[in-house]
């Protein structure tokens, strides 16, 4: 089955059992494709001693950080038309993901299939809670910019809620909301930016947007908010407090598998779609965790073709909550992310004085 056909499947409509057999077949083919076309990937699998596997959980996976340390490409270089990078802070190495036209197009299509399951088929007015400057510099195509451009496809009309200096554009915001007061509105942004520059700004001027029907979709991780001791529950309550009647949906995703995001349902659970999956693994031996057991999150996607990123071990920890039986009705696995793997207590590198 080619990826076009897979995309036609309902995004949350197939059971785990159906998915396992589909994925084993497709991933086995993808692995062989990458082995043939990416010599580095082939060498890695040789070192692992991989030949074949009987189940998806036995297929070989790469550590997410390999994309920071090495350039992995499975198509001729001249076919790469876009390189995506993770949003690392200055001085840090960033992930580099190489996209050809097909893979880039499939990312957009996949995102559309998944998100429209939550927002409906029609394009809606959209408020992007970020600064327009993030997408102006196309040379620096960061994950943040890519997220905004990717989600823009759901917009019939869009505005940015923040100006170039990350200040809230309250009058523009107010006008846009009243202009679309009889429609559903999408708000989109990155969790920390929303908290820091949108929620706090509204709170400090004592304003409420009194929205009637809106969905706020946010992603990018909780690390910075965890530092401020803000939980997911508090985040939701706080945003409702300043926005009015809105649904708030977190998503989990990463630049290494752009498009294949894991959306939070009405019950507060992150869901794997038909096009992707997760496995929670024990650090001790990478064996598969039981439901409810904390472990390292592996992400799986049928999407990547121009780079060998179908099976990736993240540096996040999480737990599987259930399979095929979320009360929201979506099939497949649903889970929770518990944060980054703790890297504190290894006695560590001797660099004590370095900033």
């Amino acid at each position: 089955m080619n990826y076009e056909k897979i995309l036609k499947l309902e995004p949350f409509g197939i059971t785990q059992a159906e998915k396992e057999s589909l994925f084993l077949g497709e991933l086995t083919k993808l692995i062989e494709f990458h082995r043939k076309n990416c010599e580095k990937y082939n060498k890695i699998l040789q070192t692992f001693g991989y030949e074949s596997a009987q189940s998806v959980s036995d297929l070989p996976f790469l550590p997410a950080r390999i994309f920071k340390e090495s350039e992995l490409i499975s198509v001729p270089k001249e076919e790469i038309f876009k390189t995506m990078t993770s949003s690392g802070t200055t001085g840090q190495k960033v992930s580099k993901i190489f996209l050809d036209r097909d893979t880039a197009a499939n990312q957009q299509k996949t995102l559309t299939r998944i998100v429209s399951n939550f927002t409906g088929k029609n394009r809606l007015p959209m408020i992007i809670i970020d600064s327009p400057s993030v997408i102006k510099n196309r040379a620096m195509f960061s994950a943040r910019g890519a997220g905004i451009l990717g989600f823009s496809i759901f917009a019939r009309k869009k505005i940015f809620a923040l100006d170039e200096n990350m200040n809230l554009n309250f009058s523009v915001l107010k006008e846009f909301i009243s202009e679309h007061k009889n429609e559903k509105i999408i708000l989109f942004g990155f969790t920390f930016m929303i908290w820091q520059y949108f929620y706090k700004a509204l709170k400090s001027i004592g304003e409420n947007l009194f929205m009637k029907d809106a969905i706020l979709i946010h992603g990018g991780g909780w690390k910075k908010l965890a530092n401020e001791k803000v939980s997911s529950m508090e985040f939701k309550a706080a945003l409702k407090d300043v926005c009015g009647n809105i649904a708030v949906s977190d998503y989990y995703g990463m630049v290494e598998q752009t498009g294949c995001i894991y959306m939070e349902c009405e019950k507060g659970h992150l869901h794997a779609s038909t096009y992707s999956d997760i496995i929670i693994r024990k650090p001790h031996d990478f064996s598969v965790c039981n439901i409810g057991e904390n472990g390292i999150i592996q992400v799986i996607s049928l999407l990547p073709k121009s780079y060998p990123g179908n099976l990736i071990l993240t540096e996040d920890e999480g737990e599987l909550l259930g399979i095929d039986n979320c009360p929201c009705g979506r099939k497949g696995k649903y889970f929770r992310v518990n944060g980054r793997i703790k890297n504190a207590e290894i006695r560590g590198c001797s660099d004590t004085f370095n900033r």
Binding site: S70, I341, R347, C349, F353
Partner: protein, 395 residues
């Protein structure tokens, strides 16, 4: 000038001592005061109250009067030497007791010391400082010579202490050393950098098979897992020689696993780090082969020994393995980074000959497996009591 020191936390000593530290008179090598003081500290560190802290015990054992007096004998001109004055130490964050070792070097040589310990909290640091404070009560004359402090990254403090010191010892990675060296020291002062190093093991498979496997595994564990394989002297590579290599490898892995199953708790992040190292090593080294039962020990067999292997330093139980046809093959990796070769079999002198005859820039220590973490007054090829004192010649 005064207020920059407000940010200092004193583990041993106080601000008054700090203000005078650059003026205290240096002492002779192995002075009675220092030896008496360490002997008393030694008894405390080896006491029953401090149980199960094998690194603290090792330090205590090293500081016994008998051990120090034996060491003194190899300094025949000790009576002609005196310390430089004040030594400023930047201690590392990988080995908890290293700050104390550094202090020992300076005091034995007759110097007052300001030791900046890492902000990483180690209970060993608390215990040792507590015992030093107790000993100072017994020997108050030594109080002006010892300051152990903590401060957050603060260039002003580092600058001031550097400007005062007669010698500076910096333990850490290249970045640490380069950062600290941005603070100048007086023109005639001595600057010693102890950078991260690379160490490896050579095992004569046939000799190994005749030994007590459990003891060897315990020794190897102490050189590696005990400090998360993160000490400079922790081997990252095992070079096998001999006939029954395959059998020896199997036995070695099995008996080491028996140790780690009992004693080692690997951090979660180590699993992820090790996977990355395997992937990167696979890309770099042709025909590399990963062998593991679980993530506690990863064995990466390589089929060629190349010099950049010294840049592949994973920890928490990650071992490259190479089977050599002859011992001379190791010369390609005897680079400046190389510090310790640990060995099993009758290899000590043979290895030294290879190091010298090949004109290697690296390798300062060749010790049996199990003694990688031994304490010594000679470190990284430098005889510290000589380096940290001056000789007064009379004609």
């Amino acid at each position: 000038m005064e207020n920059i020191f407000n940010n200092i936390k004193y583990l041993v000593g106080n601000e008054d001592i700090l203000k005078n530290i650059a003026k205290v008179p240096p002492l002779p090598l192995f002075s009675d005061l220092v030896v008496d003081f360490f002997n008393s500290l030694s008894r405390r560190l080896m006491s029953k109250e401090i149980k199960g802290e094998s690194d603290i015990f090792t330090l205590g054992f090293w500081l016994r009067r008998a051990s120090l007096e034996l060491a003194k004998k190899s300094y025949i001109d000790a009576e002609e030497r005196i310390g430089w004055g004040m030594v400023f130490h930047i201690a590392p964050s990988n080995i908890p007791i290293q700050f104390a070792v550094s202090l020992v070097y300076a005091l034995i040589s007759g110097n007052a010391s300001v030791v900046r310990v890492s902000n990483k909290k180690f209970h060993q640091v608390d215990i040792i400082c507590r015992e030093i404070n107790e000993c100072i009560k017994e020997y108050p004359e030594i109080a002006p010579y010892i300051l152990i402090i903590r401060y957050d990254h603060n260039d002003a403090i580092t600058k001031a202490l550097s400007a005062w010191c007669d010698a500076r010892l910096i333990w850490g990675g290249d970045n640490t050393i380069n950062t600290v060296r941005l603070s100048p020291i007086p023109p005639r002062s001595i600057d010693l950098g102890f950078a991260d190093r690379y160490s490896f093991t050579v095992i004569d498979a046939d000799a190994y098979l005749k030994l007590n496997k459990e003891k060897v595994a315990n020794d190897f564990y102490n050189d590696t897992y005990f400090s998360d394989q993160n000490a400079c002297s922790s081997p990252r590579l095992i070079v096998w020689i001999g006939i029954n290599v395959a059998e020896a490898k199997k036995t070695f892995r099995k008996s080491l696993k028996a140790q780690t199953d009992k004693r080692y708790k690997m951090s979660d992040i180590a699993a992820s780090n090790k996977l990355l190292t395997t992937a990167l090593a696979a890309i770099r080294f042709d025909d590399a082969k990963e062998i593991k039962e679980d993530n506690t020990a990863i064995w990466l067999e390589i089929s060629n020994l190349e010099e950049d292997i010294v840049h592949y330093k994973e920890n928490s139980g990650y071992f490259f393995e190479y089977t050599a046809g002859n011992l001379e093959e190791i010369t390609v990796i005897l680079k400046k980074e190389c510090q310790t070769i640990t060995y099993i079999g009758d290899l000590g002198e043979k290895l030294r000959k290879i190091v010298i005859s090949s004109g290697a820039r690296g390798v300062d220590r060749i010790v049996p497996v199990g003694r990688g973490m031994d304490l010594s007054l000679v470190w990284d090829g430098i005889d510290l009591p000589l380096a940290l004192s001056r000789q007064i010649s009379v004609v």
